[in-house]
C-alpha cells in the first residue's frame, strides 16, 4: 500500500507491506523493517532496527497526530493522486483565518483594528479562560477584515473574534 506523508515542510512517498507479522516500510526508497504492536488504548510500540519507540497515534482534524518523546507530530497522509487528510479549517495556508473563541471566556485585549496589516504570528486577541490569559495570533499574513469583539467583553465558545484575509502576493 502506498501513501504520501507530509510533516511540516517535508513530503515523502511511503510504501508498506506486511509479511510474517512485520512491516516492511519504504520511505523515499529507503527500506526499514518495523516490529509494531498496538495496545488497546492506541499506543504503538515500535522496534526499528533494535531501537524502541513508544508512540500515541490519534486522528485529529484530518491529520494523524503522533505523540512521540513529548512532542506531537502532525502528519498528513494521502494516497497518490488523492488527498486523504483534510486541512484544518482556518489553519495556515491560503484560506482566511476566522478566529473563534474555543471556550467561554473574557476578552482581555484586542491588538488589531480592521484594516490593519498583520504579519504571520502577530498577536490578535488575548482571551482569559481557564484562569489563564491566552494569546491568539495570526496564522496567515494579511489584512484584518473584521474585529468582532472589544476588550472586556464576555464571549461564548464559537463566537467570532477576528477575521484575517490572506495577503495575495
Amino acid at each position: 500500500m502506498r501513501f504520501t506523508l507530509t510533516l511540516g515542510p517535508e513530503t515523502v512517498a511511503a510504501e508498506i507491506e506486511e509479511r510474517d507479522g512485520r512491516y516492511h516500510v519504504q520511505l523515499d526508497g529507503e527500506r526499514v523493517e518495523v516490529d509494531a504492536r498496538w495496545s488497546a488504548a492506541g499506543t504503538l510500540s515500535l522496534l526499528i532496527g533494535g531501537t524502541a519507540y513508544l508512540a500515541d497515534v490519534a486522528e485529529e482534524n484530518g491529520e494523524i497526530v503522533v505523540g512521540l518523546g513529548g512532542h506531537a507530530y502532525r502528519v498528513r497522509v494521502e494516497e497518490p493522486g488523492r488527498r486523504l487528510g483534510r486541512r484544518r479549517a482556518g489553519a495556515a495556508g491560503d484560506a482566511a483565518q476566522r478566529l473563534v473563541a474555543p471556550m467561554p471566556g473574557r476578552v482581555v485585549s484586542v491588538h488589531v483594528r480592521a484594516g490593519d496589516r498583520v504579519a504571520l504570528d502577530a498577536p490578535l486577541v488575548v482571551l482569559e479562560a481557564m484562569k489563564m490569559e491566552n494569546e491568539f495570533r495570526a496564522t496567515v499574513a494579511g489584512v484584518v477584515a473584521e474585529v468582532a469583539v472589544t476588550a472586556g467583553q464576555a464571549v461564548n465558545a464559537g463566537d467570532l473574534l477576528v477575521v484575517v484575509s490572506p495577503e495575495r502576493t
Binding site: 500500500m1 501513501f3 508498506i16 518495523v34 515500535l46 500515541d56 503522533v66 518523546g69 479549517a89 489563564m132
Partner: protein, 500 residues
C-alpha cells in the same frame, strides 16, 4: 483528630488532601460541579456530593452550598486546598459560624495578610525589609504618577487584595501609566471585588524565594526553609525547588527568622508561606504572605520529611507542633514541574479535552500528584494543572537528571502538555548552573519553545503510515475520533477516509 472532613476543592490538591486524611484515619467528603462527576477526587473520596453547575462561581466558590454539604454529611472540618476559597476570610468565618474547623489560619489572619498594603505595613513594623513602594493604595492617577516618579521607573502596579498575578501590570515609562492603572484597576475589581492598587519599584531580574512556616495554637512557630520559584511565566510558577541554589545557611536563617517574626505578629496559625524577592546582592524583600497550602509544598516535604497536609490537619485539630526549629533538618534536593494541559509550542494556550493516554513516570524518588487519570476529561472551566511531577535527589544535579528522565518517561496523549517545556528547562545551561531569575522564561524566549527532534520526525511518519495502513484494513467505524475537544469547536474534526 476529626472523624470526617470536607475537601472544598477539586483536581490534584483535592486528591492530595484526601490521601492525607485517609492516612490519618479521617473520612473524606468530596464536592463536585457538574463538570467533575467523573473527576479523580470523586473516585477517591469516601463520599461525594454535587454542588452546582460547572462555573466555579456557582459551585466551588459557593460558600453556602459548601457549608450546607459539610453540615448534612456530618463533617467536622473543611480543607480549602489552594485557589478558590482558600484565602477568603468570609469562607473561614462561615466555617467557624457553622461550627466547622477551617484547616488554615483564623479569618483575622487571612484578612490581615490578604490586604497587601496592610501586610506591607505589618512587615515594616516587624523589621522585615520591603520592596520600596507605596504603603497605601494609590488614589488619583496624579498621586500614582508622583509616587512612580519617586520610586523610579519601571514600577509594578499591584492589586491591594491581589494574588496569582491578577491586577498586576509592569509600567516601563510615565506614558504607559494611565492605561496600565485603568486595566489593573478593572482586573482587580473583577477578580477581588476591590479596585484598589498600589505601586512597587521593580527589581532587576529578582529571584522569587519563599519561606514555609508552621504555627500552632500556642504560638510556637517554625520555618521549614525556603523554596525557589523563579521559573515563572506571567507570574505563574512553572518550576519550583528546595532548597534554593542561591541561599546559604546565614541567608536561610535571616529569611526564616523574618518570616517567623511576621506571622507571629499577626497571630498566625497553621501553614503559611512568606514570599520574598531576592536581588543579585542577596538582599531579600517581603512580597506577600500566602495564607494557605502552596501548590509547590511537595518540594519542602521531600527535603524535610514532613507531610505538610498532615501537619495542617494536626495543627487545625489543636495539636502542638511537637518539635522546634532545631529538629527541622533538610536532606537532599527536590524539584517540582507543573504539568498543565497547555501547549508550550503555542504560547501556553490551554489544551482542554479527553486524556486518551496517561502514563506517568515512576520509580525511586519520583512522585506524581495528579488530579486526572487515563480517560478523564480536562474541563475548560478550571485551571489547566493536571499533575505535579516532583523528584528528589541527593544533590541538585542528581535531582535535575532524575527530573529529566521522569519527563522523558511521561506519556500523555489527547491534550498538549507542558512536559516538553520542562524538558527544555532541565537541560538549559542557566538552569543547570542555578542562574535563575523571574525573567528566566521571558529572557530565554524561543530557546524554551520545545523543538521536536528531527530524527524522530521520520519515526512519526512511519507511525502515521502504519496507522493509516491499519485503519484501511479495518471496517470503517462511524466514530474514530476521540471524545470532543473544546478546541475542536473552532474547526470540526474531519476523519480521513482511507479506502482499501
Amino acid at each position: 483528630m476529626f472523624a470526617k472532613l470536607l475537601v472544598a476543592n477539586r483536581g490534584e490538591i483535592a486528591v492530595r488532601v484526601i490521601r492525607a486524611c485517609r492516612d490519618a484515619g479521617i473520612r473524606t467528603v468530596a464536592v463536585y460541579s457538574d463538570a467533575d462527576r467523573e473527576a479523580l477526587h470523586v473516585r477517591l473520596a469516601d463520599e461525594a456530593y454535587p454542588i452546582g453547575p460547572a462555573p466555579a462561581a456557582q459551585s466551588y466558590l459557593a460558600i453556602d452550598r459548601l457549608i450546607d454539604v459539610a453540615r448534612r454529611a456530618g463533617a467536622q472540618a473543611v480543607h480549602p486546598g489552594y485557589g478558590f476559597l482558600a484565602e477568603n476570610a468570609r469562607f473561614a468565618e462561615a466555617c467557624r459560624a457553622a461550627g466547622l474547623t477551617f484547616v488554615g489560619p483564623p479569618p483575622e489572619a487571612i484578612a490581615a495578610m490578604g490586604d497587601k498594603t496592610a501586610a506591607r505595613r505589618t512587615a515594616a513594623t516587624c523589621g522585615v525589609p520591603l520592596v520600596p513602594g507605596t504603603r497605601e493604595p494609590v488614589g488619583s492617577d496624579d498621586e500614582a504618577a508622583r509616587a512612580a516618579r519617586e520610586l523610579g521607573y519601571p514600577v509594578m502596579i499591584k492589586a491591594t487584595l491581589g494574588g496569582g498575578g491578577k491586577g498586576m501590570r509592569l509600567v516601563a515609562n510615565p506614558g504607559e501609566l494611565g492605561a496600565a492603572l485603568r486595566l489593573a484597576r478593572s482586573e482587580a475589581a473583577s477578580a477581588f471585588g476591590d479596585a484598589g492598587v498600589y505601586l512597587e519599584k521593580t527589581l532587576a531580574e529578582p529571584r522569587h524565594i519563599e519561606i514555609q512556616v508552621l504555627a500552632d495554637a500556642d504560638g510556637h512557630v517554625v520555618h521549614l526553609g525556603e523554596r525557589e520559584c523563579s521559573i515563572q511565566r506571567r507570574h505563574q510558577k512553572l518550576v519550583e525547588e528546595a532548597p534554593s541554589p542561591l541561599v546559604d545557611p546565614p541567608l536561610r536563617r535571616a529569611m526564616g527568622e523574618a518570616a517567623c517574626r511576621l506571622v507571629a505578629a499577626v497571630g498566625y496559625r497553621n501553614a503559611g508561606t512568606v514570599e520574598f524577592l531576592v536581588d543579585a546582592e542577596r538582599r531579600f524583600y517581603f512580597l506577600e504572605v500566602n495564607t494557605r497550602l502552596q501548590v509547590e509544598h511537595p518540594v519542602t516535604e521531600l527535603v524535610t520529611g514532613l507531610d505538610l497536609v498532615r501537619e495542617q490537619l494536626r495543627l487545625a485539630a489543636g495539636e502542638p507542633l511537637g518539635y522546634t526549629q532545631g529538629d527541622v533538618i533538610a536532606r537532599g534536593w527536590a524539584i517540582e514541574c507543573r504539568i498543565s494541559a497547555e501547549d508550550p509550542a503555542a504560547h501556553f494556550r490551554p489544551s482542554p479535552g479527553r486524556i486518551t493516554a496517561w502514563r506517568p513516570p515512576a520509580g525511586p524518588w519520583v512522585r506524581v500528584d495528579a488530579g486526572v487519570y487515563e480517560g478523564a476529561e480536562v474541563p475548560i472551566h478550571y485551571d489547566p494543572l493536571m499533575a505535579k511531577l516532583i523528584v528528589w535527589g541527593r544533590d541538585r544535579g542528581d535531582a535535575i537528571r532524575r527530573m529529566a528522565g521522569a519527563l522523558a518517561e511521561f506519556g500523555v496523549a489527547g491534550v498538549r502538555t507542558t512536559i516538553p517545556f520542562h524538558a527544555a528547562v532541565m537541560v538549559h545551561p542557566d538552569f543547570v548552573a542555578g542562574r535563575l531569575s523571574t525573567a528566566f522564561v521571558e529572557r530565554m524566549g524561543s530557546g524554551l519553545v520545545p523543538r521536536p527532534d528531527p530524527a524522530r520526525a521520520r519515526v512519526a511518519m512511519i507511525a502515521a503510515a502504519l496507522h493509516a495502513y491499519r485503519q484501511a484494513g479495518r471496517a470503517w467505524r462511524s466514530a474514530v475520533a476521540p471524545g470532543p475537544s473544546a478546541w475542536a469547536l473552532a474547526a470540526r474534526p474531519r476523519v480521513p477516509r482511507v479506502p482499501r
